[in-house]
């Protein structure tokens, strides 16, 4: 466990500035999730924290000590790479045990026990003797995770660790990671993901990044309920929040109003607004209805269970008034 602090951290690749001054504190033992659009700098930030990439300017502190120049190996971290970065010449077992064999005072049995435990958890026990190239994508990803969790670091850095796993395994692994977090004396974890569920369920706090800058940091429900910008509002939650501007928003005294698909009810006849169904999607447990009603993007309404609206149907909808988010011209919320 370690607390991590970033002070006006910047990173440029040549002329391109990718991290544009990030201030962030990750508390001791916290589970911090980074989310943000593809290319916003999540992996880069993670690599800066790991020490693999030098920061261009600013300060990075671990437990209050400046570590700008500290070698990655001395930071007490374990990391899962987005690109896996497995050792191609080592078997799965060796890949996972490698870090451990280097630590002093680890007996062979102890290492084997720990590797096997991780392998069991990740259901890759039967592949321990294979080389990475003989594995499927998801199996490789699990080896990458396994390699990180067999070790005993102060900080875990996960870069989209579950993206290639199937739903069931994903849930299982997610829960294991949460358990790990609890068990390991609340080790500090930083986790990049695109998965809403992962972000919402794992995070103590979520950090929303946008284009190299921190947009908002807060607990999942805080972000969900009180996003402090249109961007965050749109980014957190799936399906995306619906944004309505123009006259319809004016009626609510705002430049833009946002309302989530699950907070819209379809009215039998008259509602606040009306629109034409252009598409429906059926996910089993719930379903989405896409409505054309003159907004930039179609408005999505989420319904429980299946529905039988057809394209072309005209429906009336009503937002739940207390769930409406109002934003001003600058995209800031009006409270």
């Amino acid at each position: 466990m370690a607390s991590i602090e970033l002070r006006n951290v910047r990173k440029a690749f040549g002329a391109v500035e990718v991290i544009k001054g990030v201030d962030l504190e990750v508390r001791k033992g916290e589970f911090m999730v980074f989310v943000g659009p593809s290319g916003c700098g999540k992996s880069t930030l993670l690599r800066l924290i790991s020490g693999l990439e030098d920061i261009t300017s600013g300060e990075m502190l671990f437990d209050g000590k400046v570590v700008n120049a500290l070698a990655p190996s001395k930071r007490g971290i374990a990391m899962v790479f987005q690109s896996y970065a497995l050792y191609p010449h080592m078997t799965v077992y060796e890949n996972m045990a490698f870090g451990l064999t280097l630590e002093k005072g680890q007996s062979k049995e102890e290492i084997r026990r720990r590797v096997e435990k991780a392998a069991d958890m990740l259901q890759i026990r039967q592949y321990l003797d294979r080389l990475p190239k003989q594995l499927s994508g998801g199996q490789r990803q699990r080896v990458a995770i396994g390699r990180a969790i067999t070790r005993d670091p102060k900080v875990f850095l996960f870069d989209e660790p579950l993206s290639n796993l199937d739903a069931a395994l994903r849930v299982a692994t997610r829960i294991e990671i949460a358990k790990l977090h609890e068990e390991m004396n609340q080790v500090t974890m930083i986790y990049v993901t695109h998965d809403q569920v992962e972000a919402m369920t794992l995070a103590d706090r979520i950090c929303v990044l946008r284009d190299g800058l921190v947009e908002q940091v807060g607990s999942p429900m805080e972000l969900y309920e009180n996003p402090n910008s249109v961007f965050v509002a749109g980014f957190i939650g799936s399906p995306k929040m619906n944004f309505i501007s123009g006259d319809k928003a004016k009626a609510f005294n705002a430049d833009t109003v946002g309302i989530r698909g699950e907070h819209i009810t379809i009215m039998p006849d008259n509602g606040t607004w009306s629109g034409t169904v252009i598409h429906t999607e059926n996910l089993g447990a719930d379903s989405y209805v896409y409505l054309e009603m003159g907004t930039e993007e179609p408005v999505v309404v989420r319904l429980d269970g299946a529905n039988d609206y057809k394209s072309g149907d005209v429906v009336h909808i009503a937002p739940m008034e207390d769930k409406i988010h109002r934003f001003d011209g600058a995209g800031k919320p009006i409270r």
């Binding site: 693999l52 190996s73 690109s83 970065a85 497995l86 191609p88 870090g99 280097l102």
Partner: protein, 326 residues
């Protein structure tokens, strides 16, 4: 010969489906191999077979085409003396030859051993990012770039006991108490040859290893950094296994070269028993003495010895011939 072998490997039981992709690739492979095979057959096939053939004849350079087949006579033959004792003759019982074999093998292994180590160090240095790297790379290649005949003579000059700069340097720096005749004495002559050979061919090793180093994916070093792998350990556990293929090839070719060492020994040392190598012997017999057939036999045996050593090396070094294929 080898083209017939150009069929996909037999797999288990049943008729495997030979897909068009596989066929296309095999066809392409065949076409790709043909120029090389033709080139090698023409340029090497005839001369090699000819040499081997000569080794079974009594050929002499005075009478190359009238050579007569004498079977294994050059390798081993015997004579029953009147007293009834049998006298064995021929290459296989030639003490000078086996002495040369021993000299050569000792030389080859020592020099390749040190070259590998120094080559690796140099390659690692060149692999690091620093200013002026390009110039250093060029500088390092200089020993390899100087023609052997020149560098051998140059070293002979530098090692000279009277006006050699090395003795002078050694005296000035207090490393030597008196001038040493490096190449004149049997004990130091071999060392001198070794030093020069290592100096000359380390760049070859270094450059090949460097190329191997450059092909290693960088991200796994990041993983290793994170794993807290000490750089030394990284070298042995990651770098070494991953440059191994390149290293192995470099060593093979250096070994082949070292086992055929000729120029350096020839120029640098007095032609004494202590430093004579197989090639030097073979050259003497081929061209200087009137023993062309015997020289051919020595060359053939040298070829066989190298082949055996190479195969041993490939087997012990677990050099793979596969991988990379789809």
């Amino acid at each position: 010969m080898a083209t017939e072998a150009l069929a996909p490997p037999a797999t288990g039981a049943g008729s495997r489906i030979k897909s068009e992709l596989t066929q296309q690739r095999l066809r392409a492979a065949r076409w790709f191999l043909v120029p090389m095979l033709i080139a090698l057959a023409v340029v090497a096939g005839w001369p090699l077979l000819r040499s081997i053939w000569f080794s079974f004849t009594d050929a002499s350079l005075n009478n190359l085409y009238g050579a007569e087949w004498i079977g294994f006579g050059n390798y081993l033959r015997w004579q029953v003396l009147e007293s009834g004792t049998v006298r064995w003759r021929g290459l296989l019982v030639d003490g000078a030859w086996w002495n040369a074999v021993w000299n050569t093998v000792r030389f080859a292994f020592t020099s390749v051993f040190f070259e590998t180590i120094f080559g690796m160090i140099v390659a690692l240095v060149l692999n690091a990012e620093f200013r002026g790297r390009g110039i250093v790379r060029a500088a390092i290649l200089i020993p390899w770039a100087i023609p052997t005949i020149v560098s051998a003579k140059m070293w002979a000059w530098m090692l000279n006991d009277q006006f050699g700069i090395l003795n002078d340097l050694g005296m000035r720096l207090g490393l030597l108490s008196q001038k040493v005749a490096w190449t004149a004495q049997a004990e130091t002559a071999m060392t001198a040859v070794l030093v020069v050979d290592i100096w000359k061919t380390t760049p070859f090793m270094a450059l090949l290893i460097l190329a191997g180093l450059q092909m290693i994916p960088k991200d796994i070093y990041e993983a290793a950094d994170i794993d807290g792998v000490h750089p030394v350990k990284q070298f042995f556990r990651i770098t070494l296994p991953l440059v191994r293929p390149a290293l192995m090839v470099a060593i093979i070719f250096r070994l082949l070269d070292a086992l055929r060492i000729f120029d350096l020994i020839y120029v640098l040392t007095p032609n004494s028993v202590a430093t004579k190598t197989m090639s030097v012997l073979a050259r003497e017999n081929l061209f200087d003495f009137d023993n062309f057939a015997y020289g051919s036999a020595q060359s053939t045996l040298l070829f066989l010895l190298i082949a055996v050593l190479t195969m041993l090396y490939i087997w012990l070094g677990k050099v793979r011939f596969d991988g990379g294929d789809r």
